[in-house]
């Protein structure tokens, strides 16, 4: 039977997924793009969320959903279908690998391991876009977004961690 409590628990659990779907169906790639003169700080919050949950709490974020979110983003931004999906799945792959080889997880080590995750996902994406599509890159913009995505990870770390605490309280 669905009670308010079970509904709330379920909602808290799917919150990151709902947020990811919402972001993938919006036209902005970063929240800072909405604020005039702040678009220079553009970052990819989707990658932060995917990396965080794949690394820390994979039970909250199904890889099937990550794949679907990537496909939605591809359709909306006009990149070849499946390109962003592979990009996000590579992030998940690196995060899962790091989770498997890390004995004592710490914010600093997880933050610095975000660099290879970003590197490999961008590398795969570059290879796909450069070789299999006619699209050109805004290298400067991409570099900036990647840099700020890396830089803002520790800011989002406690926020995303608090979601886990919230869920644990419910449990």
């Amino acid at each position: 039977m669905i009670t308010f409590r079970t509904f709330r628990e379920g909602f808290i659990k799917v919150l990151p997924l709902v947020f990811l779907y919402f972001l993938s169906l919006n036209s902005f790639s970063s929240i800072t793009q909405l604020i005039p003169h702040f678009d220079v700080f553009s970052f990819n919050i989707q990658i932060i969320i995917i990396y965080f949950y794949a690394l820390k709490f994979p039970e909250y974020l199904g890889f099937g959903h990550v794949f679907l979110i990537g496909l939605l983003k591809d359709v909306l931004i006009g990149t070849p279908l499946g390109a962003t999906a592979i990009n996000y799945l590579v992030i998940c792959l690196v995060a899962t690998y790091i989770r498997n080889v890390t004995l004592r997880p710490k914010l600093t080590s997880e933050w610095f391991m975000f660099i290879p995750a970003l590197f490999f996902s961008n590398l795969v994406y570059f290879i796909i876009i450069n070789n299999f599509s006619n699209l050109a890159f805004y290298y400067e913009e991409l570099l900036r977004i990647t840099f700020f995505t890396f830089l803002f990870f520790p800011i989002f770390y406690p926020i995303l961690n608090s979601h886990k605490k919230l869920y644990k309280l419910e449990e």
Binding site: F22, L25, N26, S27, F28, S29, Q33, L34, I35, P36, P58, E59, G62, F63, G64, V66, F67, G70, L71, L72, V75, L76, I77, G78, T79, P80, L81, G82, A83, A85, I86, L89, V90, C92, L93, T96, Y97, R99, N100, V101, I128, I129, F132, N134, L135, A136, F137, Y138, E141, L142, I145
Partner: protein, 285 residues
């Protein structure tokens, strides 16, 4: 060394193949599935294209609803900034009106002269192509992406919007249709890196290629003749040399930036375009 390599391979294989708790698919399966989808999309088979067009329409319709909070936020921010810049804008507009008034007088003279010359050369009565159509469409999503600067329009093949048609905001060229679905279509904007337009510069016979820079409304002129000095305040028109765009469509204008360098910007404000005209010929009011 060999042990380390084995550990790496085991951890990677585990990450790829192991389905974690509450995971229905392994990463390996999903990556292969993505590659298959990507390959099918790349092959451009007719049934895949049709499926993608339906999928596009569906997702765009959902995106219209989900992007409502974003549109509202943008509207509020714009409203606030407009409110604070009214006085400054009024002063600027007064100056512009004065300049335009002078230009209008000059234009009227040139128009009369042009008509007389056309009559003398028997060039009057240029026929408008009967197949030229103009469709008014609304911008439903203004996509910000590091890969493609594009708009989504609420008109598709059902309304006669086809791939390759030109798009105007007011009477200025802003882009071309690159994807046409049944209900929606995508416009590649002239400020995109992939955009290439053969143009001619006002009061000169200099031809160039106008490309986008992806930054706001800024454009760049490529393949200008050596020693050619670009001056500010020159309008840039399509030359029609590509055989797709009609000649004489206003696209951009030169200006001097803060660093005292002559740059090119679009005549239409691409960030403010809400309703656009899609046509297969020259746009006429």
């Amino acid at each position: 060394m060999a042990e380390q390599r084995d550990d790496f391979i085991i951890a990677l294989r585990y990450a790829l193949l192991k389905k974690g708790t509450q995971q229905k698919f392994s990463l390996f399966f999903l990556i292969i599935f993505s590659i298959i989808i990507f390959t099918l999309d790349k092959l451009s088979l007719s049934y895949v294209q049709k499926t993608r067009a339906v999928l596009n329409d569906l997702i765009y319709q959902v995106a219209i609803v989900t992007s409502t909070p974003e549109k509202f936020t943008k509207y509020v921010i714009k409203l606030t900034s407009d409110h604070y810049s009214v006085y400054r804008e009024n002063e600027k507009l007064k100056e512009e009106v004065e300049v335009l008034r002078n230009e209008k007088i000059q234009n009227e003279y040139l128009l009369t002269e042009n008509t007389i010359l056309k009559e003398a050369l028997q060039l009057t009565g240029t026929k408008v192509l009967e197949q030229d159509i103009s469709i008014i469409a609304k911008v439903i999503i203004d996509q910000e992406s590091p890969y493609l600067k594009s708009f989504l329009l609420n008109k598709g093949t059902r309304d006669g919007v086809l791939k390759g048609m030109t798009v105007f905001s007011k009477k200025y060229l802003i882009g071309t249709i690159i994807e046409s679905n049944y209900l929606t279509s995508r416009v590649l904007l002239i400020n995109d890196l992939n955009s290439r337009i053969p143009v001619i510069i006002e009061n000169t016979s200099v031809n160039a290629i106008l490309t986008g820079l992806g930054k706001d409304n800024n454009l760049e002129l490529q393949y200008l003749p050596e020693q050619f000095q670009l001056s500010a305040g020159k309008n840039i028109y399509t030359s029609g040399k590509d055989g797709i765009l009609a000649a004489g469509i206003p696209v951009g204008v030169t200006y001097v930036d803060k660093k005292e360098q002559v740059k090119v910007r679009t005549l239409a404000d691409l960030n403010q375009a809400l309703f656009v005209n899609v046509t297969n010929g020259q746009f006429r009011n």
